[in-house]
C-alpha cells in the first residue's frame, strides 16, 4: 500500500513540481492539502496530470472551519487521491469545480444544501435534497430543529 503511495508521490514530483510540496500521506491515503485560493488552479493541474474522474465532493464540519474533501481518481496513474481545502465558517465560499469536472454539478449542490457552502461559478446552485423553504443546513454540527428527536444514549 505505502509503496504505491510513494510511487504516486514520485510520479507527481516528476510531473508537476508545484503540486509536490502539498502532497502528504494521511491515514494511508494520498492527500493534497491546498489553500482555498489555489484550489481551482491546482485542480486544473491535477486534471492535466491525468486525474480525470472526480469521485466525490463532500465536506466535514470541524470546530473552526469546514474542510472540503474531493476524491479524485486517475485511470492512467491507477491511483486515487484526496484534495482538501479549508473553508472559513464565517464566509463559506469556495470555487466551483464544474468547469474542471462537470461531475461536480450535483455533488456541489448537495454540499451547498447540507452544509451551506457557496460555490462560486456553479451554473445552478440551489438546494437539491431539501425543499427550498427548508431552514438551516442539517449536516452542520450545530444544526438543531425542534422536529429532530435525539436518540437516547443506550450504549
Amino acid at each position: 500500500m505505502s509503496d504505491h503511495l510513494e510511487e504516486l508521490r514520485e510520479r507527481i514530483s516528476e510531473l508537476d513540481p508545484t503540486i509536490y510540496p502539498l502532497f502528504s500521506i494521511e491515514f494511508g491515503d494520498a492527500v493534497i492539502a491546498v489553500p482555498l485560493d489555489d484550489l481551482l488552479v491546482t485542480m486544473h493541474r491535477l486534471r492535466e496530470l491525468g486525474f480525470d474522474r472526480l469521485g466525490m465532493v463532500t465536506a466535514v464540519d470541524r470546530p473552526e472551519f469546514f474542510v472540503l474533501v474531493y476524491r479524485l481518481h486517475s485511470r492512467a496513474l491507477s491511483a486515487g487521491l484526496f484534495v482538501k481545502a479549508k473553508v472559513h465558517k464565517e464566509d463559506p465560499v469556495a470555487p466551483s469545480m464544474f468547469e474542471v469536472w462537470p461531475a461536480a454539478d450535483w455533488q456541489e449542490r448537495e454540499v451547498f444544501d447540507l452544509f451551506g457552502i457557496d460555490f462560486e461559478g456553479h451554473p445552478d446552485l440551489k438546494r437539491i435534497f431539501l425543499p427550498d423553504e427548508f431552514e438551516g443546513h442539517p449536516l452542520r454540527k450545530d444544526y438543531d430543529h425542534p422536529r429532530v428527536i435525539r436518540r437516547p444514549d443506550y450504549i
Binding site: F129, L130, P131, P138, Y143, H145, R147, V148, I149, R150, R151, P152
Partner: protein
C-alpha cells in the same frame, strides 16, 4: 354522491328499510371487499416487497388486489416506504384524488411510526397517519409480502363491517397515540371481551376509541 350512498340514505329513512339495508350492505361490502385495487405509493425499500407481493411467487392478484398506479382507479392506497416532508404534499394530493370509498394500508415501520428514522432524522415524517387516515398497519422493516396479503385480508374484514347508511358509518381512527398516557388509555379502551383473539387489534381498533381521539379526522368515511 354515489348512487349507493343515496340508496343508503333513503333506506334508512324508510320504515322497515333496515332489513333490506342489511342485505344491500352485505352485497355492497362483498363487492367492494373482493376487488380492492391498490395504489402503490412505493417510496422506498418496502416498495420492493410490494412489487414482490404482486409478482409470481406471492401473487396477490388472486385476492383481487391489483396494483394500479393511478389514484382514480384505486380503492386502497398502500403506503410502502419512508415518507419525507418533501414527499408529503404529493402523497396528500394523490390521496385526495382517490375517489371514495378509500382505505389506506401503512406498510412498514416507516409509515407506521417513522421506524428506523424516528430518531435524529430531520426530514422524515413520523408515520403516515400524521396526514392520512390509516386503516391497517403492518409492522416490519420491510414486512414480508405475506404480511401484505394478511393486511389485505384484514382490510376486507374492515370493509365488510361498513354500511352504506350514513347513520351506521364507522368512525375511523386517524392517529397513533403520541404520549404514553394516551397509549395506555387506548389499550384500556381496546380491552373489550370480544377483542381477545389473535387478530383482535385490527378488527377492533377503529371501533372503541374515545371520540376525542377521532375528532380532527379530515373528510368523511
Amino acid at each position: 354522491m354515489a348512487l349507493v350512498d343515496r340508496i343508503g340514505t333513503s333506506l334508512e329513512r324508510t320504515p322497515g328499510g333496515g332489513i333490506i339495508l342489511t342485505s344491500v350492505d352485505a352485497l355492497v361490502d362483498w363487492s367492494r371487499g373482493q376487488s380492492l385495487w391498490a395504489m402503490p405509493m412505493g417510496t422506498a425499500c418496502c416498495a420492493m416487497e410490494f412489487i414482490a407481493a404482486s409478482f409470481s411467487k406471492f401473487d396477490y392478484d388472486r385476492l383481487g388486489t391489483f396494483p394500479r398506479p393511478d389514484p382514480r382507479h384505486c380503492d386502497v392506497m398502500v403506503l410502502a416506504g419512508t415518507i419525507t416532508e418533501k414527499m408529503k404534499p404529493a402523497i396528500q394530493r394523490l390521496w385526495d384524488q382517490m375517489p371514495e370509498p378509500k382505505w389506506a394500508i401503512a406498510m412498514g415501520n416507516c409509515t407506521v411510526s417513522g421506524g428506523i428514522f424516528y430518531y435524529d432524522s430531520y426530514s422524515v415524517v413520523r408515520g403516515a397517519d400524521e396526514f392520512i387516515p390509516v386503516d391497517v398497519y403492518i409492522a416490519g422493516c420491510p414486512p414480508r409480502p405475506e404480511s401484505l396479503i394478511d393486511a389485505v385480508m384484514q382490510l376486507r374484514e374492515l370493509v365488510h363491517e361498513e354500511s352504506i347508511a350514513p347513520g351506521k358509518r364507522r368512525e375511523r381512527n386517524t392517529k397513533l397515540p403520541r404520549s404514553k398516557a394516551e397509549a395506555n388509555e387506548r389499550m384500556e379502551a381496546m380491552r373489550t371481551p370480544e377483542s381477545d383473539g389473535p387478530h383482535a387489534p385490527a378488527k377492533v381498533v377503529n371501533k372503541e376509541f374515545p371520540s376525542d381521539v377521532i375528532a380532527d379526522e379530515g373528510g368523511e368515511v
